[in-house]
């Protein structure tokens, strides 16, 4: 059984208008997605801005009111608040946020920040609690003197590590990491990614890793889902996605990753423009009449793509021919 099973998850935000301010339409931030996260893996969720990644992540930790669909954990649907409370759900599922400064309460000392989930879920004695906090700080590589300081006194990387420490404080089974490094400098980003990996190794945590940086995702994730306008367009293993992308949207994202090999940049650029060309010309082939993605079809045990069956087979074969 998977750790988390997301089934046909929908989150719609109402748009009110008209004379009586009634709900006339809705933003379909997440529009029917399903995927499973296995224990101990890092699951990548990739997509352009506004594609619904954060909304998905928030739904999984229970921060968002879900319109329909289910998220099963330990056989219970945790989209219901009562089930979450009953399971002490957030003891097991935690979150790391994108903006490290805003995710740490500026008026609280680091000790209180890290101890917050402990105080709510594990009622420890004062000393035990302090010890735990100190150990957590040690694990994320911060000195004990951080204990009584405030978030603004740390650099971005350090703050993000404090966020990690808080997230792992209750030894959760799953951590949702919503763009944990996209606001960070290259070198600091490396730092945080290293820590996340280290902690995963040591505690066997699963991540739902949300990012739009395909380079980072490739570095971190075993399984990846590509999201586009509230729907999944492709899911697969790292290899499936990076080496055998099927959906034009995935290809486009991949082509847009800057090439670090200076000598090949011209070729890279041409390749990218070619993909763009296809993307523009073949929109209606890849999307249904409303411009939404098709339902996913399985093309291999690990790989699924949101295309009509026939088209999917055709593309798979083309790919094989090329290879």
């Amino acid at each position: 059984m998977s750790l988390i099973e997301i089934k046909d998850l929908k989150v719609h935000y109402p748009i009110r208008s008209g004379f009586w301010n009634r709900v006339t339409d809705s933003v379909k931030a997440v529009d029917g997605i399903s995927f499973n996260i296995e224990a101990g893996e890092t699951y990548g969720l990739v997509g352009e801005s506004g594609s619904g990644k954060s909304t998905t992540g928030k739904s999984v930790v229970g921060l968002e009111k879900v319109t329909s669909g289910s998220i099963m954990y330990k056989g219970k649907d945790i989209t219901k608040k009562s089930n979450r409370n009953h399971l002490d759900y957030n003891h097991d599922v935690q979150m790391i946020f994108q903006d490290s400064l805003s995710s740490l309460n500026p008026r609280k000392r680091i000790e209180d920040i890290i101890a917050e989930p402990l105080r709510n879920f594990e009622h420890l004695s004062k000393d035990d609690e302090k010890l735990r906090v100190l150990q957590l700080l040690d694990i994320v590589g911060l000195d004990a003197d951080a204990l009584y300081k405030y978030p603004h006194q740390f650099s971005g990387g350090q703050r993000q590590r404090i966020g990690v420490a808080r997230a792992v404080a209750t030894n959760p089974k799953l951590i949702i990491a919503d763009e944990p490094v996209s606001a960070l400098d290259l070198s600091v980003q490396a730092q945080v990614l290293n820590f996340m990996k280290k902690i995963q190794r040591e505690f066997g945590i699963s991540y739902l890793f949300i990012s739009h940086d395909l380079g980072v995702v490739r570095h971190m994730c075993n399984n990846i889902a590509i999201m586009n306008r509230g729907r999944l367009v492709e899911i697969g293993t790292r290899d499936d996605i990076y080496n055998h992308p099927l959906h034009i949207y995935t290809k486009r994202l991949l082509a847009a990753i800057p090439e670090t090999n200076v000598s090949q940049r011209k070729a890279h650029r041409e390749a990218r423009l070619a993909v763009e060309q296809v993307y523009r010309e073949q929109q209606d082939k890849y999307y249904d009449e409303h411009g939404d993605a098709y339902p996913l079809v399985q093309v291999s045990p690990t790989h699924a793509v949101a295309l009509p069956e026939a088209l999917a087979q055709q593309i798979v074969q083309e790919g094989e021919v090329k290879a």
């Binding site: 730092q191 380079g215 570095h219 800057p258 670090t260 940049r265």
Partner: protein, 337 residues
């Protein structure tokens, strides 16, 4: 691409900010040249002084709060000696600037057309009609699909990518010789980033302009830049063509940065991490190699007392001699010990 002529020459420029009554250098003794038809990328971590350099060239600092020394020779004029009115002849006309945050950089209350044609009000004697035509032309040029419609809209009605295009349109409206782009794509998605960079490159080709591209994304640099200057703590630590920097990086800082990028090869390994932080202004060391504290395993003797730039080959310069002895800790067990 061969550089044709140099038209911007930054000589020994330092900019100091007043903090609690004392001046602290944010950039010190910068020397740089920009040529027509080239993209010069400036890279470095946050707080290295990249933006300060850009705003110094643009003369956007409050003279009461800053002290600037050195020379910025732009087509024969030292910009730093100009008064406000003199500077305004260059801003917008000969030098265009593109800012990072596309939302706040546009006046929320003015239509796109007015914001673009405002540059022309001061630097051309176009008639209203000419300006209107030019606006549409510009919007088309930066890749906006429906220029007529967009010209009439307000910034909040546009997406981030479109706003950034508008800002580029403003910057190039008067066909400037120099465009300074301060992190133009940081706030954007990869796909849009790629498009914006394309636009920039096309414009440069068309206008034969020189572009200073400020970014901390090495991928962007590798994709776009002709030459690269790496900045650390207010200084340029390495400078060279894109090939030189990416293929044969010398300075420990450059090498560290490159190494900390997630790459295909190191998929399952840990990424390289540079120890420590960029020092804040008040804590900036003023003697010796400023990067030394972050590579503590390199013996002090390897550093110069007063590091200067060393030419390695044509166009490739590196500060300090420590690069010669620098090895990553995992490359040389002996050094680490």
């Amino acid at each position: 691409m061969e550089s044709t002529s140099e038209f911007l020459n930054i000589k020994d420029v330092s900019t100091a900010f007043k903090i609690n009554g004392k001046y602290y250098d944010a950039i010190s003794h910068i020397n740089l040249e920009v040529h027509h038809d080239e993209i010069l990328a400036i890279v470095g971590e946050s707080g290295c002084g990249k933006s300060t350099l850009a705003t110094t060239i643009m003369g956007l600092h409050d003279p009461a709060e800053t002290k600037i020394s050195g020379e910025v020779d732009f087509e024969g004029t030292n910009l730093l000696t100009l008064n406000e009115a003199g500077y305004n002849k260059f801003r917008g006309a000969k030098i265009g600037m593109i800012f990072q945050d596309p939302l706040s950089a546009l006046n929320p209350l003015k239509r796109i057309e007015d914001q673009i044609s405002e540059v022309m009000d001061y630097h051309t004697n176009f008639t209203a009609e000419q300006k209107h035509d030019r606006v549409l032309e510009l919007l088309d040029q930066v890749g906006i699909v429906n220029p007529k419609r967009t010209a009439h809209q307000f910034p909040h009605e546009l997406s981030g990518g479109m706003r950034q295009r508008v800002i580029i349109a403003i910057a190039i409206a008067c066909k400037p010789d120099l465009i300074i782009a301060d992190e133009p794509t940081t706030a954007l998605d990869v796909t849009i980033q790629a498009q914006i960079l394309d636009v920039l490159r096309e414009i440069q080709k068309e206008n034969h302009a020189g572009i200073i591209l400020i970014t901390h994304d090495l991928g962007v640099v590798a994709e776009t830049a002709d030459r690269v200057a790496v900045m650390y703590a207010g200084q340029i630590v390495e400078q060279g063509s894109a090939e030189q920097i990416f293929n044969t990086p010398k300075h420990p800082y450059t090498r560290s940065l490159l190494r900390s990028m997630p790459q295909l090869e190191n998929q399952n390994d840990d990424l390289y991490v540079i120890q420590g932080n960029v020092p804040s202004l008040q804590r900036m060391p003023h003697e010796g190699d400023r990067f030394a504290p972050r590579i503590p395993w390199v013996p002090e003797s390897a550093h110069e007392k007063d590091p200067v730039m060393h030419v390695i080959e044509t166009g490739h310069e590196v500060r300090c001699t420590c690069y010669k002895e620098f090895k990553f800790p995992d490359e040389a067990e002996d050094v680490k010990a």
